[in-house]
Symmetry: C2
Subunit: 141 residues, 2 copies
């Protein structure tokens, strides 16, 4: 995605593309690391010395409001962010703490009284041990 494409995408979604906003959005789509606000701040600081944490928070809130990013609440003590707004799952490895994206076939999901609910948002969170860490350690209990 070129800077111009990002600019157009954000503008289309009612997000005026300032330098800070572009930088944060670009960070999200290039790293795909589901960062916290603090991680984004620390990582962009070297390149944008005047950046403030407030702006990172403001921007992420704006992104979520305008639907160009989602908040990931897989842990109760931190909020992470993802520019992939499609419905998909997240798996967090307890060993390496990496968060993997999961492509979930939502059409297969069935639950009681499904039709009673008008669903606007779905989040699927899994925790356990990833393949790499399973191989590196026999004692997974």
């Amino acid at each position: 995605m070129s800077t111009e494409e990002i600019t157009n995408y954000l503008a289309k979604n009612d997000v005026k593309p300032s330098f800070q906003r572009l930088s944060i959005y670009q960070y999200l789509i290039s790293k795909k690391n589901h960062p916290t606000a603090d991680t984004i701040y620390k990582e962009l600081m070297p390149n944008i010395p005047t950046l403030s944490k407030t702006t990172v928070y403001n921007t992420l809130k704006l992104f979520v409001d305008k639907g160009v990013a989602i908040a990931i609440n897989i842990e109760d003590n931190e909020v992470r962010f993802d520019a992939d707004t499609s419905t998909h799952g997240h798996f967090k490895c307890e060993k390496c703490n990496h968060i993997y994206d999961l492509t979930i076939d939502v059409s297969t999901l069935k639950f009681e009284n499904l039709n009673d609910y008008l669903i606007k948002e779905a989040h699927f969170y899994f925790k356990g041990i990833c393949e790499k860490c399973q191989k590196n350690n026999i004692n997974n209990n």
Copy 2:
């Protein structure tokens, strides 16, 4: 579930059943309202005047550690708790803020590279509008 049954259940799970712990556990299973720590504190205060918020936090953390309760992170600004530790889903209505339990048939859920992950925990969160609120309001957008 009688007080004696609760006592035995907690003891079996390595939770020594003090008066405060029993009260909090009993609150969870009787109300099934997915409360926050603060809600539990406010609701039990009248009956247990000496109760402190620290004890509520300590107890909930102990419950989650020992596997007799789970933390629900459906919102990013509050942690809720549930004594139903079976794998099930949660639906939060945006209108009435009520959280419904969903019985999900996990066996129907399929995703790519499923076998690469050793899953120990699964959380399913949905947001939207419940049946009651859909009926009460035509304009749901």
